[in-house]
Symmetry: D2
Subunit: 352 residues, 4 copies
């Protein structure tokens, strides 16, 4: 932490501040510049709030943080090595991480009925997916919109899991539902709107299933990593970070702005695996293929793509869903780029 | 809802779409323009998603919403009249609404100990506040930062309530805590990070205490009103909307951008009372007075201002807190503007 | 400037960096922290780019700026005193600055014809304005929209100036037009879209008329002050800063987000006078009064308000223009707040 | 254009509005909905401003645009076909467009001296570039920063052109400089800060050299295409659109947010070729490779990459520049993805 004093700060005030900082258990070191005095703080400053420190004296102009605010999520915490998240599924373990092939997650926005979810599961598995996504509890802007079938949908997800052997990823919105959902889900998803629902983060951190943490719509990279830090600090080390588009000034065509630069940025900051969701990230099915391929080229570990047997009749998020046919075609294109960057696994089972 | 067809759409497709829309229970009316055909939808379209409708045909270029997505929060729902939220406090009922004098809410970010919270309550009451704010459960970006004293802080708030007669406003972050907090609080606060925590909105909507709903950091006006709609739809009509600063591209000086234009905008859209929080809205105590006075001139019904006996030692949000002395001075300035706009109540008790 | 080294940086590299920095004419001072080494740079660092410095070594994690990037616009440059901009108009000198009464600028978006501009000038003067605004050259998003009457409109502005005695403020968009416009205008306006048109800034900085510098739609406070710095550095000290709304994620109701927090922020950073433009700042006439009053309460030195005799027929920006009648009413409300904050001048001439 | 009337609008007012719209030369068609009346406007509405129309009556709630505001840039204007921009260079014609191989543009931010620019030209040509970028006139936030060598740098660019045979792309910032720069440049660049400098757009539209139009930092897609429309409307059909990162709320790691979704979005809206600039788009050399590969996978027609022989000593934008060596390596990776998507040209000349 660096304390920058205002021009003309009295020497006595600098002395007083140094004394106060020493009382806080820090070792201040003063540098006298041409115009300004700055004080470097040596010691455990990670928990200090720069703005708080500023309040010690009206002569302080600014306090600059030198340490990153996150620890367990930092790449340094693992000495520069990537971590991997291993998820057991009926079809065997699936590996998320930068030294593993791309993992494809696909499925509808919400679970509508058994036939639909089982059919979708079989189709996306045939195309190459390892996980089925599908919402039982849905966050909807309007209280009058379909809120998901809730508990009964969990049974349908279990049926789809059994029928297809795919792992299940589904969203948890309420601390009260965590156990119930964890019985069915292989990965618990925390949605963008709950990224800073700290009660929920602590709760999913205290259970054993891996967690998919979506980035909040206006969350900075640091805030996102701090949200992951809540989960890791609570004891759960299996977190996958999912970029799903941020909010910008232009929402006329793409509904969100998919920030693919998180791929190189997160790689240098954290050891955690990364997923990209181009469906929510753009909000329109026609933009999904280009952004999917871009994500692979930029090095994503995983992709989450919405697929619905009949997007026009979907109870939620239809416009961003691919049909099973267009998903089949997209996976073939993904394979081309995936192979080019060395992140493609076994031969894909062809779809007739 | 208006369906805009692409240039060159085949007549047969327009006929087919009309038929499909009729099956949905709508009455489509076609307008043939110079370049394009548009279809107006007559009927109950409020629950339809424009993007969903777009999926009916690849020949649809765009679907435009004509109805507002909110009902109970809309000004029209009350035939253009403002509503008022009446809160009973030990000192008697307090009225929030555009036909009432300004209500001042003040207090620290978090409840630290009994002496501190009682002293602050007495000071802000003496200055003119009707409510004490203070967090028992605190949403913090870092898991390593002070998280609030939780349940034990609720007892301290109760003590401050008894000592001062002020109403209590405190934040609820978890559905599991609602009852417990509602025993002490006169108003339940839903924070910015939980504005779209729909489980929490339903829960506070199902109990009787009034709710203060803060705007999410990147929530549009429509999303904010839809969040309020969740609470009203669940049965609780007593909602106060609180603007606390939105996230913009420049956070170097003011940490958030306080959007005072919500005052005229919300007035025309909704009947609900409005509060402005210039402390979180700017993030620095030195900017609070100017924005407080601006909010009064622009017609706010209420203000929430952070006051802490010793901001430099505050366990959270110190830099944006006023000292009791600067709060006293600010209330005097508020009175001048409040009287000028006819929103000032009884004579203020002078602070020695 | 503070150089932060990565954890584990080799001592030899720190030595090498220090030597290189010394060659740049700087005096580096090293602080050895618990985890990291930081190097404070003493000397003239204002022209250095922190990102550039970072390139000296791959072991540098970050370079933090301690000095502000602006000089002549800074409040410190005038030892904490405000500056004033004095503009001579046919009716006598007008003073912009925090120790002067509020200055009102009013008029249409663009100059349409002589009758309209002269009539508007007389109306707004009667209501209390000191300056007439009106565009001869108009920046329009579409090449097919009305672009202003250009040179011929300058003659009409001159006529309105003579008829009313008001000072004239009009926009300059092209370096080639500066002299021509400066013959008629009392203040040259640089619009939001040209805030970083550095050729234009240098040109208006090299002539004598005062300059009104509008904030760019996504300009940070620092970028805005640096744009002003271009004008001051070119020799023209008479710059007024005008906030006109920034771009945010929500443009459905207010077209821009009027950032009134610039009032306390700029006051602490710069000596230059400040103007607020609530017409462009909100984009709708119905939101203008509330934001105008808010700006006065928050301490603005000046206001720019669009007034048009018949907004529905205006060739540009009609929806945000007040009618002369509603402007009259607004000025009366402004007077109430203006007097309350001690920033109102002589008695207003009543409008019959 | 669709006019939406408020609930309860008097029939007489709807009649009056219809009459007024007919006077404007439009054919209004009324649809009576369950709650609201809407009026569809048939006729030439492209030049009408929806907000202006709203002013016709206080009973109008909203006016929705159905037509796109751009014409010549629209894909429909060319019946769905892509256009190509052909640029003659000493080495022969270069083709920009979706049916041509990827075009690589590389070079330093600014032209520093002859040796440096010629060396860089030869290096990037050897690696596979077809164009040299390099600024003679530089837009810099600070008036005290290096502003480019101006006219003398044009001579150096001419020398580099002759030595390498590469085409030259350089920025024009002032209408007064257009002719002078067009004598040397093969493509004129309009920078992000001047995207809505309409005087400049008209000027480059009135000359013959192709224009590279960078997206403004907070420009919507529509505004960007309207800026291109200025150039096309002025007579110059050879415009390339360049995405270079937009401004978002998080600038801590990537300085801008590179919006790759423009690739599928622009493809569907416009026939013009597209370039991506990952150097300005991220602001840091270490993020450039990932975003470059992503852009190719997503279908870009062209890339602009900053390369500097010694980034740490660069007079501007060093931190985002690649060294020639890292550029060589990157081109090899680009080839892999470029071949995978079928957008790679002739064999690359190997660099020893």
């Amino acid at each position: 932490m660096i304390v920058v004093m205002k021009v003309g700060s009295p020497e006595a005030e600098v002395v007083r501040i140094n004394q106060e900082l020493e009382e806080w258990g820090l070792t201040p070191e003063k540098i006298v510049g041409k115009h300004k005095v700055v004080i470097g703080l040596v010691g455990d400053t990670v928990d200090l709030d720069p703005l708080q420190l500023r309040e010690i004296s009206p002569w302080i102009e600014e306090v600059l943080r030198v340490e990153k605010p996150f620890k367990r999520t930092s790449r340094e915490f693992r000495h520069g090595e990537a971590s991997e998240v291993v998820v057991s599924t009926p079809n065997g373990p699936a590996y998320f991480g930068e030294h593993h092939p791309l993992v494809i997650v696909a499925g509808p926005c919400s679970v509508e009925n058994e036939e639909m979810i089982v059919e979708t599961a079989l189709r996306v598995k045939a195309a190459g997916a390892k996980f089925l996504r599908g919402g039982a509890y849905k966050p909807r802007t309007s209280p009058y919109a379909f809120q998901g079938h809730g508990e009964s949908a969990l049974g349908l997800l279990a049926a789809a899991r059994e029928a297809s052997g795919l792992g299940i990823i589904t969203e948890v919105m309420d601390t009260a539902d965590v156990e119930k959902i964890a019985e069915v889900a292989d990965v618990l998803q925390v949605g963008a709107r709950n990224m800073q629902n700290f009660s929920l983060l602590k709760k999913v951190g205290a259970q054993e299933k891996p967690v998919l943490l979506k980035r909040g719509m206006s969350a900075t990279i640091d805030e996102w990593l701090m949200a992951a830090e809540y989960i890791l600090a609570a004891g759960n080390q299996n977190v996958i970070l999912c970029e799903r588009g941020i909010r910008s000034f232009d929402r006329q065509y793409a509904r969100n702005t998919l920030d693919l630069s998180v791929l190189p940025v997160l790689r240098s900051l954290t050891h955690l695996p990364i997923m990209i969701d181009p469906s929510h990230g753009t909000g329109r099915a026609e933009y999904v293929p280009a952004m999917t391929l871009a994500a692979i080229a930029a090095g994503t570990d995983s992709l989450m793509i919405e697929v619905h047997p009949n997007p026009a009749k979907a109870l939620s998020d239809g416009p961003q869903s691919l049909t099973p046919e267009s998903f089949d075609r997209l996976v073939k294109e993904m394979e081309v780029i995936g192979r080019a960057v060395g992140r493609w696994a076994a031969p894909v089972v062809a779809v007739a």
